[in-house]
Amino acid sequence: MTTQEIQDKVVEIIAKQLEIEKEKVKPETKIAEDLGADSLDRAEMVMDLEDEFDVNIPDDAETKIKTVGDTVAFIEAEMKKKGS
């Protein structure tokens, strides 16, 4: 998967979770502050991301992932580790 493909899918999952336009979800967008996602939204999003990319996103990683770009980078790194 290319970085762009990962990003497109991440954007899609976030937009779907928060019922917003994909155009509002940019790499620099802060998921909590800019999009208003609360802890419940983020917990559900993490499940969808884990299922989509077959990676594990631990609770402590969640606190470090602030932006859409952070999310893409984290997932990409995890996928590399798994060799996929």
Binding site: L18, E19, I20, S39, L40, A43, E44, M47, D51
Partner: protein, 416 residues
Amino acid sequence: MSGQRRRVVVTGVGAVTPLAVGARASWEALLSGRSGIAPITLYDHSQHDVHIAGEVKNFDAGQHLDRREAKRMDRFTQLAMVAANEAIADARLDFAKEDTARVGVVVGTGIGGITEIEEQKERLMTKGPGRVSPFLIPKLMANAAAGQISIRHKLRGPNFCIVTACASGANSLEAALRLVQYGLCDLVISGGTEAAVTPLGMAGFANMGALSKRGGDPAKASRPFDKDRDGFVMGEGAGIVVLEEFEHAARRDARMYAELAGCGLSGDGFHITAPAEDGDGGIRSMLGALADAGLRAEDVDYINSHGTSTPFNDKVETLAIKKALGERAYRIAVNSTKSMTGHTLGAAGGIEAVVVALSIASDRVHPTINRETPDPDCDLDYVVEGARAMTVRAALSNSLGFGGHNATLAFKKVKR
């Protein structure tokens, strides 16, 4: 006693019913005698014994609510939110002008978020505990509707939910009434909501033997007080009213539909689902409501019955009305909203409060449909011939719940 208590009036109504989304549209449908019962569309019912229900048809929460807001709610909360928004708009309330710490929300439900429970149980079994939604608990909890309404409108007064099965809506209105009477609130958004037309909910009610087995002609299945009634038809919906302190309403020149003058409560202390055969619980809730409202039997022109269409309820409720109101019982118009909506469980007390408020305001009473063959045990005036124009000075609304919870609300015309 009533001298120390503040008067409480209904200044807004909202309803989502199997007949329509909206109190006015539902009311017009009730007056025309239209049934809201139809084949089930919400799930595949082919393996079930029961194939009909009073669903809120083509309800798309996203049409009425913000989509993200709607997604965080079970259907029972969505229905309540739509009805509450309508009631608040109908009362022409602007909460920016109110002390929101004195605005309460009391909304009951019998079951809570059973749709969410079923979906997440499925996820638990197929995908494991790590995939159960973090929204499961905030969606399923019975108090979610009251909480979400208060959040949506930023209302900071007393906020709770009462769960007493089919009496949940009426019990909620009783509690709301007291909050205003005793000065804790100036306004309370109150009523009931339910959305239990789900595979699990329907199988449970069906296996109790509570539901009508008539499937062929859905519109004829709910037939309260008819000799050939064979059980209730499940309905869903929400009914919410704005209760307001009389002087507060007068100051802002609010429209007053009716005064909620009192309420009687009782318990059967008898059986978890069956009513006591002597009607004791219903008799005492009706007598309690009259005494609390300062009404005599002669003042009552109309009773919105619990009228579920089960063989037992309609017989025992008729007996209770006669014992509570004496000879006057035969001169009172008694109807069943459930003949057209089905039994909306915890929503029923709320929906029927909307109906009674509109009956008093418009001096019209809707019919009971499908009472085709008289039952000697049910010998009151059930308004079988169609909607009736008549003066409604005072009215009672009965709600009798599984568990033996009985609540009778007493409404009357507003005297200024």
